[in-house]
Amino acid sequence: MKHIALFFLTIGFVSAADTVEFNRDIRPILSDRCFHCHGPDEHDRKANLRLDQTGGKDGAYRVHDGVAGLVPGSLDESELWYRIITEEEDDVMPPRDSHKKALTEHEKKLFRQWIEEGAKYQEFWAFVTPKKPEKPTVKNQTWSQKPIDLFVMRKLEAEGLTPNEKADRRTLIRRLSFDLTGLPPTRKEIAAFLADESPDAWERVVDQYLARPQFGEHLAKYWLDLVRFADTNGIHHDHFRDLSPYRDWVIRAFNENLSYDQFVTFQLAGDLFPKPTTDQLVASGFHRLHLIIDRGTMLPEESFSRNVLDRVESVGTAFMGLTVQCAVCHDHKYDPITAKDFYQFSAFFNNIDAAPETGGRSGNDFMRGLQQPYVELATPEQEKMRAEIVKAESAAKAEVEKLKKQVAEAEADEKSALQTSKKAAEEKLGKLQSERLDLEMTIPAAMVMKERSEVRPANILIRGAYDNPGEEVGRGTPGFLPPMKAPNPELKTRMDLANWFVAPENPLTARVAVNRFWQQLFGVGIVKTSEDLGAQGEWPSHPDLLDYLASTFVENGWDIKVLFREMVLSETYQQSSVATSEEFKADPENRMLARGSRYRLDSEAVRDQILATSGLLQKEMFGKSVKTPQPEGLWKAVALPSSYPNQFTPDTGGKILRRSIYTFWKRGLPPPQMTILNAPNRESCIARRERTNTPLQALLLMNETEYMKAARHFAAQVLEEKPENRIPFAYETITSQVPDESELEALKSLLSDLERSYEEKPELATALTEGRGAAELAAWTMVINAIYNLDITKTRQ
């Protein structure tokens, strides 16, 4: 990793290459500074000039009033060039008062060269079907011949960089374990891997981890961010809403290695299979994950319109990697999505057979966090029990009715006896009703998508206003993408749409997916803006690698595990993340991949690691979301007094030691243990989390009650080891590394100092160990606390 000569610009990379390439070098500048007034949006277009295409009346090559926008090869005749270099206040572009950044000298140079070389446009890369690129030729023939590595090496060589050496085995297995399961390896697993001297040791350990059920739990976390999965409505009362079967389906889908095309299809149109399986129906609950308001304040037609837009936005972010929602109010400023495109697209999602707002507060559905339509996943026993209750209930109801009538008709002397019987019958009915509620509360149910029999018309909404409909539109996909095949062009269905998404010629679906999977392993996507592969997104660091991965992904039948396997088997993945401080500064996000990536673990992995290493983790999978303990009063401070629920009551017992993927997520105030470490609040679709480093995070790791309990629990186990083994045992369990001399010394001296402190202050020791008393246990608890607070513990490296 010598010869750092990286050329980072805020718009992307411009390597030392000689030619200027439109997509890489020019389009981002045009998009950022020019398209707002000279782009796809006809409404705001100035001077009859659009710079996003060359042809047409307003295209860049057009001549208007004798002035040519661009003349290939001629700076003098190109108005664009004059507008760039002029010093006339009124002429210079972008206009001073537009608040757009002026072009830098470097950018001007790029334009000059580009025009001189013929002002050639390229189709926007992400909207062209990826082709499998040629295998790159590289000078270094010894490092690796694996395709991923060749693409990476070509870039490294172009930048004058060399790959880093391979990471040591302890680091590798820890990295792999976190990346594929979100959990650290055990000491036993580390030992087994270290002892395995066979040449395919890495491959075998990779396959082991891919096969674990924790793989699905870990991958699901990223997916749930993307589709804004949560346990409350997110608006107004922010009531409980139970979507847990959808979450469980996502976990199982990853574990069973459901191919990505089916994964997409089930979610977009699972309800439209001729005889949908339960899984397909549950998956269609994707369309029910949006925020939804409870009845009573908003106008239902407005709520309806918001729901549809929210649904479209999530499809745009999750499956297309585009900010389609920009076209809600106007033609997209940067991508060729017109408002008409948007509303045609939204017409696939406006025909839901469900109320646009959640229902009243009474009834079992409300208590269960459900809203029609939904499917129940009852066991045969549950069905049987319910049938019995329902039968008894209807008999009881009839009895009550009968007695009511008798009371009304009865003579005075009979009345009181009848009334007593009526009261008893009513009590019996009430009891049965609450029995049924108790039972139904335990029956999982999944909200699903369902089409109305009659198709609801769709209109363009002028400036996105629900009460200002414009032209009526049919269902359709955006015009700039490959056309959609539909058996019945008169009525295209969501199933047709799903097929369109996973058709091999769709340029976006595979790219968007592999880019996100890459991001999960390397910390940053090949396109950094993984939520936006459009014109305002970032240029890919390795365009050919992205296309290679996307096209092989499709070739391999959209096999997710095969893709992960190839990525983690690459030498690129296995590089050491150790580098010089200068190298970290030159490429802080490791976009060049000249080393292994190093970044802070996500909140879930931070918590799960503490539970796993302390021996507390409960591996039970699936089921209702769990309210893990949190500081008191958080919900009370924000919730409406009439919210359901309005007070946080933590779960108890083993449940609270389950993995964080099962943690209850109130959108109005998600668990602070998660959000402090950058987990999103799940109100909008998030394709990548931010990673900050803040004092509140330090406080969380230092003081969180459950994390302290875990430290104490683990300290007690450490004390069962022989004294000389204790520090290495604890250190290795938590960090996967064996402490060296100086680390050992530092921790030993911490331990003895703390032991002394706690011996001097036995009341503190008693408080910390909850009565167990010994200074030794107290001191060890704080030593464990220290190891949990190390940077290397919370960091994937």
Partner: protein, 475 residues
């Protein structure tokens, strides 16, 4: 990330590196960043701090600030169509008759300029000469949730950066021991919780800005800052010793691995340790004089009261917190408004007035902008029962009243006027984005230049439509 942001981060990090582990000086980081930024995007600021008193639920302008004595003659008369103009209403009053509900409360003239104030606000009347009352605020949203988002983030869509996050991002830190943006929600209501609306952490979120800029909500039970206190059985000495060992190991790993992020971890652990003493010092009111305590009213004794939060806000401003946002909920008076409003007014009247006086006495009012506003107004037509002394009011986004004090704003004036029904704006409308632009302007920021690229747009607090600084109210 904008270049300014990058520069800030690098500067911040370098500063941390220089000083980590040795007890960082209080001023270093804070004084560096704003100056650097000012060179690039700012003009000379009038104010340094903002205290935003957010009246969540929407107080009735008709009963507090916007005096319409002639309406008493219109009692129960239908609102003329020439006034309502078929504008949209909420689901709660759709299709219902719109009958005028005049305010039952009396108003009086206050201050040197004789500004009309409701009798429900006796203490604020005493400081009328410091208030700039704006009667022509207006918003786009008609329901609480989007409307609160709109006031707090400039957008109805959830997930955009909030006002305080923008300021933290744009101006950087002024202190080294406390967050830049603190949120203080009320936990007590004199009049009960009947109309208390929900809040959402997104109202003080950072959206796509780096999350270090998000508001830190102080808690009224337990630790004021989450996870601040050491666990039972860990005292400051034990914590210090543990952190020393952690730092030594982290430093060793920094030397071996090379990743500068480890230095940031070290610095943030030190900051956390300092907060363990600076935050309790901040929230400990034992040094406050009896007369100051008294000035905020009897509720100041209750942890989590609006009064206590006002006093806390002053202490935060004194200690260099940039933006303090108080949330007082409970203004959503759809019914029995005359019974419910006095309690709400009582909650805020004396403390807000005391806050103004207290800051003034300490010479801090000039550099602190205090803003008092809800998310919209309330309708002149009644909702529910309508008698002269019992009525309710529905949501009304077309006009509402709020006030600003301090921070280089003219006191003792009103700005903007509504029509005879307090239904439409008759003069000088102030859309929320103009309020935002004016706030930013007083802090030295051009609202058009404070932006962050997200979803293909340069996002701004004031949104895509052009906003205007209300120059008429600047001192």
């Amino acid at each position: 990330m904008t270049p300014v942001e990058k520069m800030m981060m690098h500067q911040g990090r370098r500063q941390f590196l220089k000083t980590s582990g040795t007890g960082i000086g209080l001023t270093a980081l804070g004084s560096l960043l704003p100056q650097n930024l000012q060179a690039q995007i700012n003009h000379a600021p009038k104010a340094k701090h903002v205290i935003f008193l957010f009246m969540a639920g929407a107080p009735s302008q008709l009963d507090l600030f916007d005096y319409k004595p002639e309406l008493r003659k219109q009692f129960r008369k239908p609102l003329p169509e020439s006034i309502s103009q078929g504008q949209r209403v909420t689901a709660m009053t759709r299709g219902k008759e719109q009958l005028v509900a005049p305010s039952m409360f009396n108003f009086h003239r206050a201050g040197e300029n004789g500004i009309w104030m409701s009798d429900l606000l006796p203490h604020l009347s005493q400081v009328a000469d410091d208030l700039c009352i704006i009667k022509s605020l207006n918003t786009d949203a008609i329901n609480h949730d989007p409307a609160k988002n709109f006031v707090c983030t400039g957008s109805e869509i959830p997930g955009r950066p909030s006002m305080g996050a923008w300021l933290s991002y744009g101006l950087g830190a002024m202190n080294k021991n406390l967050p830049e943006f603190v949120v203080l929600p009320s936990a007590y209501w004199t009049g009960g919780t009947r109309n208390v609306q929900g809040l959402y952490s997104r109202l003080w979120g950072s959206g796509p800005l780096p999350s270090k800029h998000q508001g830190v909500a102080f808690q009224t039970t337990g630790d004021p800052v989450l996870f601040l206190s050491n666990p039972k059985g860990v005292d400051a000495e034990v914590r210090r010793r543990m952190l020393d060992a952690t730092r030594d190991l982290n430093q060793k790993h920094l030397a071996e691995i090379g990743d500068n992020e480890i230095a940031t971890t070290i610095a943030q652990q030190e900051m956390a340790f300092r907060m363990q003493s600076s935050v309790p010092e901040l929230t400990d009111l034992s040094e406050e004089s009896a007369s100051v305590m008294e000035s905020y009213g009897p509720e100041v004794e209750k942890n989590g009261s609006f009064a206590r939060n006002c006093l806390q806000a002053r202490r935060m401003v004194e200690r260099g917190v940039r933006f303090v946002q108080l949330f007082h909920r409970g203004w959503d008076h759809h019914t029995i408004l005359p019974k419910q409003l006095p309690g709400q007014a009582f909650d805020v009247d004396q403390p807000a007035a005391a806050l103004i006086n207290d800051l003034k006495q300490r010479g801090l009012l000039d550099e602190t902008l205090i803003v008092f506003a809800g998310e919209f107004g309330r309708t002149v037509y009644g909702q529910g029962t309508l008698t002269e002394t019992d009525y309710g009011r529905d949501h009304h986004p077309r006009c509402f009243s709020g006030w600003i004090a301090g921070g280089g704003i003219k006191g003792g004036i009103t700005y903007g006027e509504t029509d005879d029904f307090s239904y439409n704006i008759a003069r000088d409308p102030v859309p929320i984005r103009d309020l935002h632009a004016t706030m930013l302007h007083q802090l030295g920021i051009d609202h058009d230049k404070l932006s962050f690229p997200f979803q293909g747009l340069d996002q701004k607090l004031t949104g895509v439509e052009s906003a205007r600084v209300i120059r008429e109210i600047l001192a």
